[in-house]
């Protein structure tokens, strides 16, 4: 379809959208159009200007130049309420929900003329059933799972009869099953003529869902395509503007056992968590063990029991033969067992503290950053700079707060901080969550290099492609139980599915 005919039928047309912030042009002359009933992907690396662009469409950011046309009329939303009034709604990447309020109250806050309480509750029930996203209007949002929270946002949008639904990274916190349900819902919506502007780093998702893609690089539109006709790799290269570096892995023979767990059972410290049941595993030096499984099957608990945040019974976890089950995190760090948890802000990094301070938080022991109770700032800053340089963390410097970094950059910092401490064993949970393709490739490469130099690495991830790419052996968590690990080479999808479902295949391994 040519550009002109797209424009003629378009629901929304952007022309020459430009927005500059001090020191950076976030959007430079961005033009494209979205057709009714189309799923339109917006592709680009972290920092390519996708978020700024959709904020302009949603009335949160005022463009410096350019014009938008919605259904043939000039569209200049002064605030989100005006955008919603014109039929443009948005589901945010970090949910814009109020934890202490009920589902109905949250939805009411996102509407301009909400009906009274009882009528709203009935409508929430009706719409959520109709789109296959069941939701109880009286529950408190803070108690919902990530998938359910997102339903609240989506229902909030659907109740307003949107013409255009903007979704910013909607699947990054969802389990594969929840993603399927979401896609089902989105397809129903497009069948009714609603257009969807879809931002995601998951290229396979975009290939299966979207009909048209606009690629942004450094604030400019660099390409458009039909993602169904491209491979994920081609899409990634369009985003990066360069050939994508594929992680390279050298064959190696695993060394002696570096970390072993035998029969670890632990009650989850979190009320809604999963208890670990009789977890047994062995990782050898120079080996990467991939741990798959649907979110919420004990991943956080497994990381916690390895990092020392949760203590196991003594004698159940051994590092290079030494019992560490009852040691606290710093003692484990001193012995070379490092970890990087999933939640970047608040768990693996303190958002309000600078990168230097964050470097100190986990590096103090192994990098010798504390001397007789005093902090060695210069040395710490050098360490932080080294992480920033070697892992290509894009930030003006180590004095910036962790919270000011984009998700992908902070993830590179968090992983780099552990990798550069030369761990004997590194355990990471979701190392490339919400990270763009080229940064993800860099992180994976660094994990492969680490293993190549003799460390044992445990990668917990929900991205199966990632595990297939880098892991030597694969296992899966299901309801807190760990399957018997099998070599990834020649592993078929059916076996993986059975392992994730908790069924051991007779002939596996």
């Amino acid at each position: 379809m040519t550009g002109d005919s797209r424009q003629a039928d378009a629901l929304l047309t952007l022309e020459g959208m430009t927005k500059a912030y001090p020191g950076v042009v976030a959007n430079d002359q961005v033009s494209f159009s979205i057709l009714p009933g189309e799923v339109h992907a917006l592709l680009g690396e972290n920092g390519a200007g996708k978020s700024t662009l959709v904020k302009m469409i949603y009335g949160l950011v005022k463009p410096d130049a350019g014009q938008m046309t919605l259904r043939g009329e000039s569209f200049t939303p002064v605030n989100p309420a005006a955008a919603r009034g014109s039929g443009v709604t948005m589901v945010f990447q970090h949910f814009s929900l109020f934890d202490a309020l009920s589902v109905a109250e949250n939805i009411s806050l996102g509407m301009d003329n909400p009906p009274d309480r009882r009528a709203l509750s009935t409508r929430i029930r009706d719409v959520s059933q109709a789109y296959g996203l069941p939701l109880d209007p009286d529950r408190i949002v803070g108690e919902l799972s990530a998938g359910e929270s997102q339903r609240v946002e989506i229902i909030r949008c659907l109740l307003q009869d949107p013409k255009l639904l903007i979704m910013d990274e909607p699947t990054s916190v969802l389990t594969p099953q929840e993603v399927d349900i979401l896609f089902e819902t989105l397809r129903k919506l497009t069948a009714e003529g609603t257009a969807i502007l879809y931002i995601s780093h998951k290229l396979e998702e975009i290939r299966s869902l979207c009909e048209h893609a606009t690629v942004l690089r450094l604030g400019k539109v660099v390409d458009t395509c039909d993602p169904r006709e491209k491979s994920a790799r081609e899409l990634a290269e369009m985003m990066v503007g360069d050939t994508l570096h594929v992680p390279f892995r050298e064959a190696a023979t695993p060394g002696p056992v570096a970390l072993s767990m035998s029969g670890v059972s632990m009650k989850s410290p979190n009320e809604f968590g999963t208890n670990l049941r009789n977890v047994t595993l062995e990782v050898r030096k120079g080996e990467i063990l991939g741990v798959g499984g649907v979110a919420g099957n004990g991943q956080d608990e497994l990381l916690a029991v390895l990092s020392g945040e949760s203590r196991a019974q003594s004698g159940t976890i051994a590092l290079a033969g030494e019992d560490i089950g009852s040691l606290h995190p710093n003692a484990r760090r001193a012995r070379g067992l490092l970890t990087a948890p999933e939640e970047r802000l608040g768990h693996s990094a303190a958002p309000e503290m600078s990168l230097t301070e964050n470097a100190l938080l986990t590096g103090a022991v192994r990098e010798n950053l504390v001397e007789r109770g005093f902090l060695r700032w210069r040395r710490t800053e050098r360490f932080a700079r080294k992480v920033i340089e070697e892992f290509d963390v894009r930030t003006p410097g180590p004095d910036n707060t962790a919270g000011s970094l984009s998700g992908g950059n902070l993830q590179k910092f968090v992983i780099g901080r552990e990798v550069l401490q030369r761990p004997e064993v590194l355990v990471v949970n979701q190392p490339t969550w919400g990270v763009d393709a080229s940064a993800a490739a860099d992180i994976r490469q660094s994990l492969l290099d680490l293993a190549h130099h003799g460390a044992a690495v445990v990668v917990i991830s929900q991205d199966l492609d990632e595990l297939m790419e880098i892991a030597d052996r694969f296992t899966a968590l299901n309801e807190g139980r760990l399957a018997e690990p099998v070599p990834t080479q020649g592993l078929d999808v059916e076996t993986i599915g059975l392992m994730m479902g908790g069924v051991e295949k007779e002939t596996a391994a």
């Binding site: 989100p80 934890d99 408190i140």
Partner: protein, 307 residues
């Protein structure tokens, strides 16, 4: 000691009078905190309300005018806080403490000429019929109008916070100001209005001390009532009815211990004097042990609209 000196009816009746200043200040602060702002300047706004209310009351001869002026003064002082905190993004704790010190100083300056004067008396309402009910009548229905005004404010606050859209928006702003902003709500405007309401309530509470309870102007006469109000808000889990309970409990024990002192009870005066504080906190802690009672999610955090 002669316990027969203590008349339970009088005790219960004076409980409401003793509790009203704290109740007013606390309900105002509860709304401010529900909107996500921590204003530690309650004491300063109360004492300013006390002196302004007293001065206007004496000069006009009308306590009602005094109360109106006190509310305006409290709100005006709170706007100073609001501008510093919401527009200049100053630290809420430090600014609130500063407001208290400022209010104490300002009030003694304004109050100098009024020392030793007597406040115009406020007529009590004998609500017809209701005040003739035996037992309940004298306890509940023979008070000055401000006691009833304070109860109306509590009821209205509860209704607005839980039953209206304005209240929902206010709670949303206090719970997650970034999300409220993303949905297009005016975080700063909502908070400014909440702060003004809190200031007006604190001013009324202060004026009640100087115009009804004492009734004259003495420097520093609120004597920490603002801090008690702040504590009650927290221990009441930011809920209007619990604020009422906490304030009346505190008022009740205060009156009771004064009576016990007068009756010459064989308990050290110091223990009696601290009993209202201890009992109020204990009771509210026990209540808040169960159920949901988290602080508003954005309480005390500086809001900066990033985009």
């Amino acid at each position: 000691m002669d316990l027969s000196q203590i008349n339970p009816l009088l005790l219960l009746a004076s409980l409401m009078v003793a509790a009203t200043p704290i109740l007013l200040a606390a309900i105002g602060e509860a709304v401010v905190e529900k909107a996500g702002v921590l204003n530690l300047g309650v004491e300063g706004m109360m004492i300013t309300g006390a002196v302004v209310g007293f001065a206007i009351g004496v000069n006009t001869g009308s306590p009602a005018m005094g109360f109106v002026a006190a509310a305006v003064a409290g709100a005006a002082l709170s706007m100073l806080f609001g501008v510093l905190v919401l527009y200049l993004m100053s630290n809420q704790v430090a600014t609130g403490l500063g407001l208290t010190l400022f209010g104490l100083g300002l009030s003694s300056l304004i109050g100098k000429p009024y020392e030793g004067m007597k406040a115009p008396s406020m007529a009590k309402w004998d609500i017809p019929l209701l005040s003739d009910i035996p037992v309940l009548g004298p306890i509940l229905f023979r008070h000055d109008p401000m006691v009833y005004v304070s109860l109306i404010i509590v009821t209205a606050t509860w209704y607005v916070l839980t039953r209206t859209r304005a209240g929902l928006i206010l709670r949303g702003v206090g719970e997650n100001h970034d999300a409220a902003h993303a949905l297009g709500y005016k975080v700063v405007r909502v908070r400014l209005m909440a702060i003004a309401f809190g200031g007006a309530c604190a001013g009324l509470g202060g004026a009640y001390v100087s115009l009804v309870r004492v009734p004259q102007w003495v420097e520093g006469m609120t004597a920490g009532a603002g801090w008690i109000a702040l504590a009650i808000v927290v221990f009441a889990s930011w809920r209007p009815w619990r604020v009422l309970l906490g304030a009346y409990l505190f008022g009740g024990i205060t009156v009771l211990q004064l009576n016990l002192q007068a009756a010459g009870a064989a308990i050290p005066v110091e223990i009696l004097a601290m009993s209202p504080y201890v009992v109020t906190i204990l009771v509210l802690v026990v209540i808040s042990l169960r159920g949901q009672h988290g602080a508003p999610g954005s309480l005390g955090r500086i809001f900066h609209a990033t985009h």
